[in-house]
Structures are given as structure tokens and as C-alpha cells.
Amino acid sequence: MSRFLLDPRRRTRLLAALLVLAVGALGASGGARYLAHLLALAGAMATAALGLALVQGRAGQVCLGQGAAMAAGAYTWAALAPRSLPLALAAAAAAGALAGAAMALPARRLSGLPLALASMACAVIAEVLAMRAVAFTGGTAGRFVALPALSAFDEASVALAFSTLCLGLAVLLLYRLDRAALGRAWRALAQAPEAALALGLDVGGLRQLAFVASGLCGGLGGAAYAQTLGFISPEQFALPLSFELLVIAFLGGLRHPAGIILASLAFVALPELADRLRPLVGALGGWDPLVLGLTVVFVAVFRKMD
């Protein structure tokens, strides 16, 4: 048994199987609508985390502000979805890309840790703007997302379908870019920045493009997030969200979309599972952050990185 657990690939498979079992048990206990809601939420988180896989797994830069791109996409979707769905989706993706571009403004001069800190500053700025632009965002009170009228289906199914669509678009983008010249240039930038410079690649521009593409995924994820929850407020998009997305991207494996999707499923299922265990621990106010934090530390220590 211990030998079985020492093999990292088997350990990963075992974890994946346990996860599927856990989500299945959650679905069995909560019903189909509940399961659809969980899956839709996981899809939204995975969509945004795939952007980080782009900016980090490909271009080798760290983004600490993906929550800002999600916020841009979510609020744009909430504002435009009642008018036209395709327009709202395109606008949400564009708003996310714009947020990514704003984060990457210093990317011509900065890289690595300074650039990561600049993106974190942008995430804080985005949260403040979301709190103050009351007419557009509803301020700290938040705003409801008017759900498109599809009377034949319930909300959770609509959200799941939409979330799957956004996830599919992000995966498609990732695969297309991996096979394009741009993807190869990013990999060169990540693995040998000096060689990339010597080859005459526009290193600063490549970093900026990576953030724009990542922001686009973030915008799509934000739209799916808003559609799934039906209500958004600024503190949902505060710094912890950016960090949680980073945790999903890192611990899921930056190179593998499947790993990221599984990790976001685990991330969504974990608080629900912790909630089921609550009768065992009684009224602990900090049970959720405690379980989440210890899981992050545990997985960081025991997961084999690639």
C-alpha cells in the first residue's frame, strides 16, 4: 500500500478517483440541480485558472491579479446579458482582456516578481473601483445578475451549459496558442529569456500579450461565475480569489488543462465537503478557511511538481 502511494502518478490517479467519488456523493446527497451548480462553478473557476496556465505555464510570468479580470468579465456580463447574449459574452471576454492589458502595462520594463506585485496592485485597484462605481456595479451592496429567460430549463442547467461553453472556449484558445508561433515564442521566453532576446523576439510585447490572453480567459470565467451565482459583489473578487485561482493553476499542474479542471472541481467541492463534516466539529466559525488552508499546504508539500 505504501509503495502504491509512493508512485506520484498512481497517487494523482488515486486523488482524482477520490475526488470523483466525493463529488458523486455530494451530488447524490444534494440532487441534480445542486450537482449542476457545483459543476458550473468549477467550470467558471477552471476557465479563469486556464488563463494563469497561459501566462505562467507558457510565458513564465506570475499573475497575482486574475480576480480583476474575472471582475471585469462578471460586471460586463451582468450589465449586457439582458440585452444580447452573444454581445455580452464577447464584451465580457474583451473586458477581461482589457483588465489583463492594464495589469501588463508595466510588463515592458518588468518581469518576474515585480510584475507579479504590479498585477496584485491592479487587483486591489479593481476591487476599489468596483466598490466606488456604484452606478455600474451596485457598490458594496452588490448587484443581481438578471438571468436570461429560458423557461424550459432551470437556472443551474443554464449556468452549467454556459460555464461549459466558456471552459470550452478557454481550452480551445489554449490549444490553438500552444500550436501557434506565439505559443512557441512564449515557451522560449519562459525557458531561456536571454536566448529569446538574442533571437530578436519582442520580449516585453510577448509578456503583455500573455497577460491579455490570460485576462480574456479571466473575463470568460467571470461571466460564467456571475451567471452561476446570480449575484456579484466586490469582495468576491478581492485578493483571496486571485490567490485561489493561482493555487488551482499551480496545484492542478500548469501544463495540463485536465489537471486544472480537476483542481477547480476539488476547490469547489472542498467547502461543501467541509460543510458536511461540520456536525463532527460543532460550531467552529473558521472551519472553512482552516480546512482550505491546511489542504493547500498539504497538497503543496505532497504533490509532485512537473
Binding site: P106, I125, L239, V247, F250, L284, G293, A300, M305
Partner: protein, 281 residues
């Protein structure tokens, strides 16, 4: 306009706390190569330990020392169990581990009914006013200066400090010279966390002790970068400058203005600093 000196002095008191927190951040970054996101939670948890010890009947000075020792123990233990094992595997994983530890600490704090149901004071100063400021604010400034001076002495004047600085400069050579670099890094995690606890205790007279006490650590990042990412008086001075700037912005700008201003200062400082100063060691 007659309020201006008091606004500036009050901002400076708050800024001392930013500077002190930034000092712990920068020290850990230089000594271990990891950007820590658990300094704020360490501040809050340490303040609660001190409150708890004082409630058990310990004198205030002893309670403060106990909390600082607990901070050292937590930092060193976290380094041994989680942060050092992941450090070499991939960059940023250790940073994410500090985020996980911060969440766990926060979870523990929120789970203590006594911690969430009341507001506590760890007041080692008392009432009084001098030159328009409360004695508490003067005490915060003095405490910050004292802690920073003691830390500078530890880093510059002792053998341990020399070994830490040598290992941060060039780990391979330090190892060859017989310095146990890994052990030193664990100790550095302990000292950095203890320093954050000291900052939390310094802030306790003016802010009360509550689970959100550590939220001021967010403003330690601009102070750290503005101070040049090197442990020294520049970081403390940058913190004071930011505190004053924040106080003036809160006084004159519309709500939300001070947060925006500090983050814009962070971006500007990142762009203005010479590159090798902020690059990974």
C-alpha cells in the same frame, strides 16, 4: 487646515507599523527567497496569544515576550514542515504555501469563540496626550523604532546576522565555509514571523486586537518596494512616508482614494527601482 500636523503625525504612527511589517517581509524575502503572505495573520495571531497570556494573569511584558517566542516557534515549525521542503521544487509554491498557512491561522482565530465575540485591548500604554497626539500613538512610534533598532543590531552586530547575510548573498560559498544554510533559513523564518508578531503587538494599543488586525499588511508591500527591498532604515522610512501620504489622502480625497493612491505608488516604485533590487536573490 489647522488639523494638518495632527493628521501627519497620526499617519506617521500608522506608517511605522507598515514599515515594521515591511521589514519582516523584506527580511524573509532576502533570507529565504520567498515572498510571504502570512505576515498579517501572524500579527493577528500573535496579538491574540499575548491577550490570552495576559488574561491568564501574566504581566504585560511577559505576555509580549511569550507571544514573540510563539511567533518564532510557529515560523520555525512552518519552515521545517512545509516551507523548506517545497522551496526547491518550483518557484512560487512556497509562496502559495504561506497563503495556505495564512488561511489556516485565520481559520483557527475565527474558530475561537472568545476571539470573535469580543474586542480586546493589549494596551501597554494607557491614556494621555502630548503635542496633540494620544500617548498611544507616540508609543507606537517609539516601539516601532525600538524594534527596528533591535532588529538592525541582530542583523548587523551579531554573528548570526552575519551568517544570515552571507547565506543570502551567496548560499553556495556560505555552505562551503561551514555554515548550515538550511538550518539558518529555518531560523530566519522564525525570526521573520517573530518580527511580524512584534509589529502586531506594537499596533495593539491603537487598533484593538481583532481578527482583521493583519489587514494592514497589504500596505507593507508598497513600503517594502519603496524601501528598496533591502532590510534597513529605508524600509521603515518608506512605511512612515506611506502612512503620512495615506493619512493626507484619507483627509482630502474622496473615499477609496487612499487605497488607489497607495497601489499607484507601488506600481510607480516598481517601475522606478533599479531592476536588480527587486529581482529574486
Amino acid at each position: 487646515m489647522s488639523l494638518a500636523p495632527e493628521v501627519v503625525l497620526g499617519g506617521a504612527a500608522q506608517g511605522c507599523l507598515y514599515g515594521l511589517t515591511a521589514l519582516s517581509l523584506v527580511f524573509l524575502y532576502r533570507a529565504t527567497g520567498v515572498l510571504s503572505f502570512m505576515q498579517g495573520e501572524a500579527m493577528a495571531a500573535g496579538a491574540y496569544v499575548a491577550v490570552g497570556l495576559a488574561a491568564l494573569g501574566a504581566p504585560l511584558a511577559l505576555a509580549a515576550l511569550g507571544a514573540i517566542a510563539a511567533g518564532y516557534a510557529f515560523g520555525a515549525l512552518a519552515a521545517r514542515c512545509a516551507l523548506e521542503p517545497v522551496r526547491t521544487r518550483a518557484p512560487w509554491v512556497a509562496t502559495l504555501a504561506t497563503f495556505g498557512l495564512a488561511l489556516a491561522l485565520r481559520g483557527v482565530l475565527l474558530s475561537l469563540p472568545a476571539a470573535t465575540q469580543g474586542w480586546y485591548r493589549f494596551d501597554w500604554v494607557g491614556e494621555g496626550r502630548w503635542l496633540g497626539l494620544a500617548a498611544r500613538q507616540w508609543a507606537v512610534m517609539l516601539a516601532a523604532a525600538g524594534v527596528a533598532a533591535a532588529f538592525a543590531l541582530l542583523l548587523r552586530g551579531t554573528d548570526w546576522g552575519r551568517r544570515v547575510r552571507a547565506s543570502a548573498e551567496d548560499a553556495v560559498t556560505a555552505e562551503r565555509l561551514g555554515i548550515d544554510v538550511a538550518r539558518l533559513r529555518r531560523q530566519a523564518w522564525g525570526v521573520g514571523t517573530a518580527l511580524a508578531v512584534a509589529a502586531g503587538l506594537a499596533s495593539a494599543p491603537v487598533t484593538f486586537v481583532h481578527p482583521e488586525l493583519g489587514s494592514l499588511a497589504l500596505n507593507a508591500f508598497p513600503a517594502a518596494v519603496l524601501g528598496g527591498m533591502k532590510p534597513g532604515p529605508a524600509v521603515l522610512a518608506a512605511g512612515v512616508a506611506l502612512g503620512v501620504l495615506e493619512a493626507l489622502a484619507a483627509w482630502q480625497l474622496p473615499p477609496g482614494g487612499k487605497e488607489l493612491l497607495l497601489q499607484l505608488v507601488l506600481i510607480a516604485a516598481l517601475l522606478a527601482l533599479p531592476r536588480e533590487r527587486v529581482a529574486a536573490p
